[in-house]
């Protein structure tokens, strides 16, 4: 089977309970079941995860890099959105 006919999949791993799945890379596989196996074989060889997601790359809707300024630049001047204006009492500890 020529490689270009094998669909591309994006791989997400959840490394620990309570954490979110994180994108780790992509791979080629003929279908969902094989993609999940390939994800296990390629991306979890060193105990990286407890749960895997594979998503067809074609299903991902991405923002246009040309829209970067319109979408993201306006936030740069809104520093009040960062929660850095609070005094955290020592008693709270790590948060």
């Amino acid at each position: 089977m020529p490689e270009q006919k094998i669909p591309l999949w994006e791989v997400f791993i959840r490394s620990r309970n309570g954490l979110a799945h994180k994108h780790v890379g992509s791979l080629h596989a003929a279908d969902a079941a094989m993609a999940l196996q390939a994800a296990r074989d390629v991306y979890t060889r060193r105990g990286e995860g407890l749960s895997l997601w594979v998503v067809p790359s074609a299903a991902i809707v991405a923002s246009d890099p040309a829209d970067k300024d319109v979408l993201f630049e306006p936030t740069a001047s809104k520093i009040y959105r960062h929660p850095t204006f609070y005094e955290v009492p020592d008693e709270v500890g790590h948060m």
Binding site: A29, D31, A33, Q37, A38, D41, V42, R45
Partner: protein
């Protein structure tokens, strides 16, 4: 480590352990031959993973064999200092990789046997064998799943992939009977509760194979005549070439490490 071949007095227990160890080592070596040559990167890594699982299982069994044999032997002595006639692996695992379908069919046939075998071995009265089996069974369950899914796709894929899977299945089927053979020494170990009786696993093997072949739209070959002899050290010519590769370094440079 000397270069000379081991001269062993093989007790029934040692023979049983070496059969399991040799199956795993020789299949692992065969699979490792795919490293860098598989049809796609994902499968290259998958086959290398399975190969490493097999070699790891072999190491555990050889380490136990060394303990049982005594005489200051170590796991490497069994891998590197026995000749083909002293190997006790079944003939199936030494068969050449062939094309990708051949490798997958060989893996399905072996995994469909060894996975339930290891599961049964976890109940062994021999606690070392039971512990090795408990670890190995999780690995072989995945090997069966992976190779089974591939065989379904090859059989139910294109005309060419179906034909290649069918040819491999017809060629390798005659090596399946040997996995269920029991000689007198093994019968005593089965009686003692050390090893499971492979004949009791035949129904599960048949059901697994039938399920995969049905999904793969492949016909199960007729029973017919079965190859035999590997467990008694009578191997195909392929094993000598495998051992030449595998043992060259230790035979030429005894005890070499890096």
């Amino acid at each position: 480590m000397p270069t000379t071949s081991l001269s062993l007095s093989v007790t029934p227990l040692l023979a049983g352990i070496l059969g399991l160890a040799d199956d795993a080592l020789i299949l692992g070596h065969r699979l490792s031959e795919w490293c860098g040559h598989a049809p796609m990167l994902e499968e290259d890594i998958a086959l290398a993973n399975i190969a490493l699982d097999c070699v790891g299982q072999a190491r555990s069994f050889y380490a136990y064999a060394a303990e049982v044999a005594g005489e200051g032997l170590a796991e490497d002595d069994f891998a590197y200092r026995r000749e083909a006639g002293q190997y006790r692996n079944c003939l199936l695992v030494e068969q050449p990789n062939g094309d990708f379908a051949g490798t997958i069919v060989r893996q399905v046939l072996f995994s469909a046997f060894i996975d339930p075998y290891y599961r049964a071995l976890t109940a062994s009265r021999d606690t070392t064998l039971a512990a090795i089996a408990a670890k190995a069974e999780k690995e072989t369950a995945y090997h069966l799943r992976h190779s089974g899914e591939w065989l379904i796709r090859l059989g139910d894929g294109t005309e060419e992939s179906h034909q290649r899977a069918r040819t491999a299945l017809d060629e390798l089927w005659s090596y399946t009977g040997e996995m269920f053979e029991v000689d007198a020494a093994e019968a005593a170990l089965i009686e003692a509760g050390t090893l499971p009786d492979p004949r009791s696993l035949r129904a599960e093997f048949d059901a697994t194979i039938d399920h995969i072949l049905r999904e793969a739209t492949l016909a199960r070959p007729a029973g017919g005549w079965m190859q035999s002899g590997g467990r008694a050290g009578r191997h195909s010519e392929h094993l000598g070439f495998i051992l030449a590769d595998l043992q060259y370094l230790q035979r030429a440079h005894p005890g070499a490490t890096w």
